[in-house]
Symmetry: C2
Subunit: 326 residues, 2 copies
């Protein structure tokens, strides 16, 4: 859930008057995005998303995120485009917070994932990796392997409240990941949070087929090994609700990806380990949130153990063949 900041109508009108986007006719807080306050802003010209960046967003990172969205959108990736105000700035201030207006993308995120969604995702992700290669700014991934142990230490003592023996399992897995984590795979710009709720699809009126219409929420984007982004998607898109792994979805995603950006043999070989690492990253952030969110809070806590199951699957994998590719 979101919307932490209450924007007054006067403040909003003053803010929007700084842009060349018409007059406000409606502005409603939307229940998407957990970190920031998001509003669906309608003017007499078009619809936009207004975001107020709350505490957890580092102000120093915002020019990177907004610059990246603009860079990718200008190169044809369907992602939100920051709107520049009359003073030229895309990042401004509202209610004492950094704030930006971006274009509203059509489409809805898929609640039930099909193999077609996975193929479209693979293609768009590869396209993003290729296009992002030219983006000049850089931001390290603070939630990669070096960031996991501090996160674990912050929950180690209470980890077994969630599941008996969990601290030991994580400790041993972390040690392995720290030893074996690759560092020399092709690197570049990754999204790092490409979950289904960040990818929109729209049914084409003529063909009645769904097409990928948008990628949103670049607020974890960073520089890292490209195959790590793929590993995140294997976890986020290719497991069924019952925890089983759907190798057809993985194959569709990977094959569509490789048509746009071929993967090296080293990348393919590293996939099982990268998938274990990606499972560890979401296991740890969910564990941390689980232990630090009051039980009665309205925010829906995500189950960390879902990612323990995924981690176990990838531990049992001997090579990329398990993901449906030759």
């Amino acid at each position: 859930m979101a919307v932490y900041t209450e924007v007054s109508d006067e403040e909003l009108e003053d803010f929007v008057a700084g842009y060349d986007i018409g007059e406000v006719v409606s502005c409603k807080g939307i229940a998407e995005g957990v970190e920031n306050s998001n509003y669906l802003l309608q003017t007499d010209c078009a619809s936009y998303i207004l975001t107020l960046y709350e505490k957890r967003a580092k102000p120093a990172d915002l020019p990177f995120f907004l610059g990246l969205m603009e860079y990718l959108a200008n190169r044809g990736l369907p992602c939100p485009t920051p709107v520049h105000a009359r003073d030229g700035r895309a990042l401004r201030e509202l209610c004492g917070r950094p704030a930006a207006i971006v274009t509203l993308l059509k489409g809805m995120w898929p609640r039930r994932i099909s193999v077609g969604h996975c193929a479209a995702l693979g293609e768009a992700m590869a396209d993003m990796h290729v296009k992002g290669g030219g983006f000049a700014m850089a931001r390290p991934n603070d939630l990669s392997v070096a960031g996991w142990r501090p996160l674990f230490e912050a929950c180690r003592e209470r980890a077994d409240e969630v599941k008996s023996g969990l601290a030991d399992i994580v400790d041993r897995e972390l040690a392995l990941l720290e030893r074996q984590w690759p560092t020399d795979l092709p690197s570049g710009l990754i999204h790092a949070d490409l979950f289904p709720d960040n990818v929109f699809f729209l049914t084409d009126k003529e063909t009645r087929r769904e097409r990928l219409s948008g990628i949103i929420d670049f607020y974890f984007a960073c520089n890292d090994q490209l195959a790590y982004d793929i590993a995140i998607c294997l976890n986020a898109w290719c497991f069924e609700p019952d925890g089983s792994f759907n190798a057809t979805k993985a194959r569709m995603m990977l094959n569509a990806y490789r048509k746009v950006r071929p993967m090296t043999a080293a990348e393919l070989d590293a996939l099982p380990l990268l998938a274990r690492g990606s499972a560890m990253r979401f296991l740890l952030t969910r564990l941390y949130d689980w232990l630090n969110t009051p039980a009665g809070a309205f925010v829906k806590r995500k189950d960390p153990l879902e990612y323990l199951g995924k981690l176990r699957f990838h531990r049992g994998v001997t090579g990329p063949g398990a993901y449906g590719i030759a």
Copy 2:
């Protein structure tokens, strides 16, 4: 906060296909309304509000609410108009819940109330009272005087946790209200929840002046004495954030109201008592919610004592002159 039901894209597309409103291009849960799940639905034709009625809405009441909105909208009141599906129905079902699509109103609710807002509210409320007079369906007000004691009994034991002595104060005030509550004032259709967040204003592009552009959320509407609706608004619109009563706002509201629908002498004389009753109603529902909402919950609890202060103000009032009218 709202959005309790997660609607899948397939379910939504099927649902919207039953209407003649174009194809879905976007649908976002909005953080307005506490009782139901509300979505801002955009099609290639227009924008709408999709509401799924959750547990607290009695299904038997929904035809009354939707029928009333349609009745008032057809007579020129700026309120949401239910959209009928191809099968003629405005009330349908989605995700196992009653559901309806209504038109989206332009405007935003005022965060800082001006005397101009109060005047516009008075005029629109009177217009609604006049127009609502012809609506054929009826619904009793289950949150009027007869409903307060059961609500109090449900919190009596713990009332003093909120403020020492509160149970006694409420008990004595309730006894007085039950004895003196009028029953023979002009009656009709009232909104019964006309708080600022249910009234939209929009700045006119030409004149730069704000005009009232919408009244929403008819889910407490019922039949009752019309002046009780006015008393609710005296409490909701005419107190300043510091708890002081702004008699100018009250006068502007009442005078604008009376230009459209003259009030009888009995109504004017009853205003202080009705205002005490209205303060009691919100004191009790807030007290109940306060005692029954977990402290850590994300839902913002509203302070019941705000209404104790308002109640005290009206207890000190000797006649309608205190509300700025002769």
